[in-house]
C-alpha cells in the first residue's frame, strides 16, 4: 500500500509556500513549512521526511549550506533544490552540495510534483530489481531484452533506456524534462516536441499489437506507465 508522503518545504516566500502546501495537499502529500534556513535545518534534522523541497536563497542560512550541513549530520533525506538561478553551472553546484534534484524557477507545479514523487519513491527502494514488470510487459535490465505477453519486442538502445526509466518509475508521472535529463543526460529545454516523438515511437512498439494500453500521456504533465487493470496495492 502507498503510505502518504510527508515533505518539508523550506521557502521564505510565504505566499509561494502556502500555494505549494495547498497544491501538495490536493495531490495527497502532507507538508510542513520552514521559512528560514536555520529552522529548516532544525526541522529536517529532528523529523523524518520523505523529501525536502529547499529554496536556494533563504534568510539566516542559505539552501546549499543547509544541505551540506544536513549531509554532514548524516541526514540523507532526498533534497530537491528550487532556485531562480537556472543555469548549467548553478545546477552543478546545487547537486555538488548534496542536492538530489534541481528545479529552476519558475516551474510548473506538475513538474515539481512529479519530481518530488520520484524522489520520495527512490528513498525506500534501492534500485536492485533486475527485471521490471508492468502488467504483461517485462524489461530485463541484464540481457537488455523486452517482452510482452512472452513475445520479444526489439527496441533501439535509446528506446530501451526510455522504457527502463518509465518502468522504474511505474505508476508515477515523469515529465518531458525528466526524460531528457535521465535518458539523454541533457538539461536544456528541447523547445519542440522531440521527446513526444520518441515516446510515441516507443508506444507504438510496445502497444501496437497488444492490449491494453500501458503508456499514458498525462495532460499538462508528462507520461506514466501503469497497468490500469491492477488495483492500487
Amino acid at each position: 500500500m502507498v503510505s502518504r508522503m510527508k515533505i518539508l518545504i523550506v521557502e521564505d516566500d510565504l505566499e509561494a509556500a502556502a500555494y505549494l502546501a495547498k497544491a501538495f495537499r490536493e495531490a495527497g502529500i502532507v507538508s510542513d513549512h520552514a521559512s528560514d534556513g536555520e529552522s529548516g535545518l532544525f526541522m529536517a534534522s529532528e523529523n523524518a521526511y520523505d523529501v525536502l523541497v529547499v529554496d536556494r536563497m533563504l534568510p539566516r542560512r542559505d539552501g546549499l549550506s543547509l544541505i551540506t550541513e544536513l549531509r554532514r549530520r548524516g541526514v540523507h533525506t532526498p533534497v530537491l533544490i528550487l532556485s531562480a538561478l537556472g543555469q548549467v553551472d548553478d545546477r552543478v553546484t546545487g547537486l555538488r552540495a548534496g542536492g538530489d534534484d534541481y528545479l529552476p524557477k519558475p516551474y510548473a507545479f506538475s513538474e515539481l510534483l512529479a519530481r518530488v514523487e520520484v524522489l520520495g519513491r527512490r528513498k525506500g527502494t534501492p534500485d536492485q530489481d533486475m527485471v521490471y514488470r508492468v502488467g504483461d510487459l517485462e524489461l530485463d535490465r541484464l540481457s537488455h531484452s523486452v517482452r510482452r505477453q512472452g513475445k520479444e519486442i526489439l527496441l533501439q538502445p535509446r528506446e530501451f533506456r526510455l522504457l527502463e526509466y518509465l518502468m522504474k518509475n511505474a505508476g508515477q508521472v515523469v515529465t518531458r524534462t525528466m526524460l531528457l535529463e535521465n535518458v539523454w543526460d541533457y538539461h536544456f529545454d528541447p523547445q519542440t516536441n522531440v521527446i513526444d516523438v520518441h515516446v510515441s515511437r516507443l508506444r507504438s512498439k510496445i502497444e501496437k499489437d497488444f492490449d491494453p494500453p500501458l503508456l499514458r500521456t498525462v495532460r499538462g504533465a508528462g507520461y506514466m506507465i501503469k497497468d490500469e487493470r491492477t488495483a492500487e496495492t
Binding site: 536544456f188 522531440v194 516523438v197
Partner: protein, 465 residues
C-alpha cells in the same frame, strides 16, 4: 596639493628617495672605510721604515760609538724630506736633532710612542711649527736616548685628499641621480595624468574612449594596451546589455500584450469551458515567455563567460551523435532526412550541455525551416583537421539572404518570412555565444549554388586543454 607635492607622492620619486638614502649610507661607509684602511696601511709602512732606520742607527752606534752616531744622524737630518732625529740625555734634555720641541715625557721609555704625537719643527724661516709624527725611542747603554720618527703630514694629507675626492664624486652622483629621478618621475606623472583624464571620461559614460599609448612598447604602453582590451570587452558587453534591454522592451511587450488580451477575454467570457481553454492558452503564453527569459539569461551568462568554469574534456563525437539521435524522429515526422557524418573520438575542451543545446538549436532550426523543401535533407558533418574541428549543419530550406546573415545571430532578429513560425529569435544568438565561449568561430552561408539553403559552420579549436 602643489605640483611638487604630487610629484613627491609618485612611486618613482619615493623609490628614488629610498635609493638615495641607502646609496648615501653606503657612500659614507665607503668613504670612512677607504680612508681608514689607507691610513692604517700608511702608518704600518711608516712604522716599518722607522724600525729599519732605528736598527741601522743602533748598528752604527755599536760600530762607531757616539761620535759616529752623531755624524751619521747629522748627515741623515740634512737630507731633503728627512725623518725626525733626536738625541737626548738620560734626563730627557734634547742634545741634538732636527726637532724644535717635543711633548714632555715622550723620551722616558724605550719603544714605540703609543700614539702619533705633536712636535715642533724648524721651518725654513727658523720658526717652530706644530706637526704630528710617529716615532721609536732607543735607550743606549750609556743612557743616551735616541728618537727616530717620521712626520705624518704626508699620509694625513693623502687621507684628506682621498676623502674629499670621494665626497665630491658621491655628491655629483647623488645630484645627478636626483635630477634623473625627478625627470623620470615627472614623465611618469604626466603619462599617468593622461591616463586618469581618459579614465575620467570613460567613467563619465564615454566607453569608446581609449587610454593613450606612446607607442614605445614600455610598461605604460603594455598597461594601456591591456586596459584598452578590457575596455573593448566591457564596451562589447555593455552594447550587448543595451541591445538586450532594448529588445526586451520591444520583443517582450508583444507576448505580454497578447497574454493580457487573452486574460481579459477569458474574464469577459461567460462560458466556463471557454474560460478553461483561455487559461490554458495563457499558461502556454507564459511558458513561452519564461522560455524566452531563460534563453536570454543563458546567452548573457555564456557571453559573460561565467560558464567557462564548467569546461572540461568532452567527447564532441558523442554529443553530435546524441543530438542527431535526439532529433531524428522529429525530422522524420516532418518528412525530412537527417543524415550525419561524424568523425569518431573527437575530443575538445568544452561544455557538453551548451554544445548540445547549440547543436540542438541548429538542427531544430533546420527542421523548422526546411520542412516542405524540395530537397528534404539536413546534413550534420563533423570533421577534425589541422588543429580545428569543423561542425556543420546544412539544410535546403529557404536559407538566409546574404545581407541578413550577420543580423540573424543578433538577439531577437528574425526574418520577416519566419515570424509566423514558433521561436524566440534567440536560437542562433545562443549558438553564437556558445561558439565564442569555446574560442571558435561561426559562419553562415548558402548550401546550394542558387543561394538556397542555410549552412551553419562552427569551428572549434581541436584538442583538450
Amino acid at each position: 596639493m602643489s605640483k611638487f607635492g604630487v610629484l613627491f607622492r609618485t612611486t618613482a620619486v619615493r623609490l628614488s628617495a629610498l635609493y638615495l638614502v641607502l646609496f648615501s649610507l653606503c657612500a659614507v661607509f665607503l668613504v670612512f672605510y677607504v680612508t681608514g684602511m689607507s691610513e692604517r696601511l700608511l702608518q704600518q709602512q711608516t712604522r716599518e721604515a722607522i724600525a729599519v732606520e732605528a736598527a741601522q742607527i743602533e748598528g752604527i752606534y755599536e760600530r762607531a760609538g757616539v761620535n759616529g752616531l752623531l755624524r751619521s744622524l747629522e748627515r741623515r737630518a740634512r737630507q731633503p724630506g728627512a725623518n725626525l732625529y733626536v738625541i737626548a740625555g738620560p734626563s730627557g734634555d734634547i742634545l741634538a736633532g732636527n726637532v724644535a720641541g717635543l711633548e714632555p715625557g715622550l723620551l722616558d721609555g724605550e719603544g714605540w710612542t703609543s700614539e702619533p704625537f705633536r712636535y715642533q719643527r724648524f721651518t725654513d724661516e727658523n720658526r717652530a711649527d706644530n706637526h704630528v709624527a710617529l716615532a721609536q725611542v732607543l735607550v743606549l747603554d750609556n743612557g743616551l736616548r735616541i728618537l727616530v720618527g717620521r712626520d705624518l703630514q704626508e699620509p694625513e694629507k693623502f687621507r684628506v685628499l682621498v676623502r674629499q675626492a670621494l665626497v665630491v664624486a658621491l655628491g655629483i652622483m647623488g645630484l645627478g641621480a636626483l635630477v634623473i629621478w625627478f625627470a623620470i618621475g615627472r614623465n611618469a606623472l604626466r603619462r599617468i595624468d593622461r591616463m586618469s583624464e581618459a579614465s575620467t571620461k570613460i567613467m563619465g559614460g564615454d566607453l569608446s574612449q581609449r587610454l593613450p599609448a606612446s607607442g614605445s612598447g614600455d610598461e605604460f604602453d603594455r598597461l594601456s594596451e591591456s586596459l584598452n582590451a578590457m575596455l573593448g570587452r566591457i564596451e562589447k558587453l555593455n552594447e550587448g546589455l543595451k541591445q538586450v534591454s532594448d529588445n526586451i522592451a520591444h520583443d517582450l511587450k508583444t507576448p505580454l500584450t497578447r497574454l493580457r488580451n487573452k486574460a481579459e477575454a477569458a474574464l469577459a467570457s461567460k462560458e466556463g469551458g471557454n474560460q478553461n481553454g483561455a487559461l490554458e492558452e495563457i499558461i502556454g503564453e507564459s511558458d513561452q515567455l519564461i522560455r524566452t527569459f531563460n534563453a536570454l539569461l543563458m546567452i548573457s551568462r555564456v557571453e559573460a563567460g561565467s560558464a567557462v568554469a564548467e569546461m572540461s574534456e568532452v567527447d564532441l563525437s558523442g554529443i553530435v551523435a546524441d543530438c542527431v539521435e535526439l532529433y531524428q524522429p522529429v525530422a522524420e515526422e516532418s518528412a525530412l532526412r537527417l543524415e550525419a557524418d561524424i568523425q569518431p573520438k573527437v575530443v575538445i575542451s568544452g561544455n557538453r550541455e551548451l554544445i548540445g543545446q547549440a547543436l540542438g538549436n541548429l538542427i531544430d532550426n533546420g527542421i523548422k525551416y526546411a520542412e516542405g523543401a524540395e530537397n528534404p535533407l539536413i546534413r550534420v558533418d563533423m570533421k577534425e583537421s589541422r588543429g580545428s574541428v569543423v561542425l556543420t549543419v546544412a539544410d535546403h530550406g529557404p536559407g538566409v539572404p546574404a545581407n541578413m546573415r550577420g543580423e540573424v545571430v543578433k538577439r531577437f532578429v528574425r526574418l520577416d518570412e519566419s515570424r509566423t513560425k514558433p521561436g524566440t529569435g534567440l536560437g542562433l544568438s545562443l549558438v553564437g555565444a556558445v561558439v565564442e565561449m569555446h574560442h571558435g568561430s561561426l559562419d553562415l552561408s548558402a548550401t546550394d549554388p542558387d543561394g538556397k539553403g542555410l549552412t551553419v559552420r562552427m569551428v572549434f579549436p581541436a584538442g583538450a586543454n
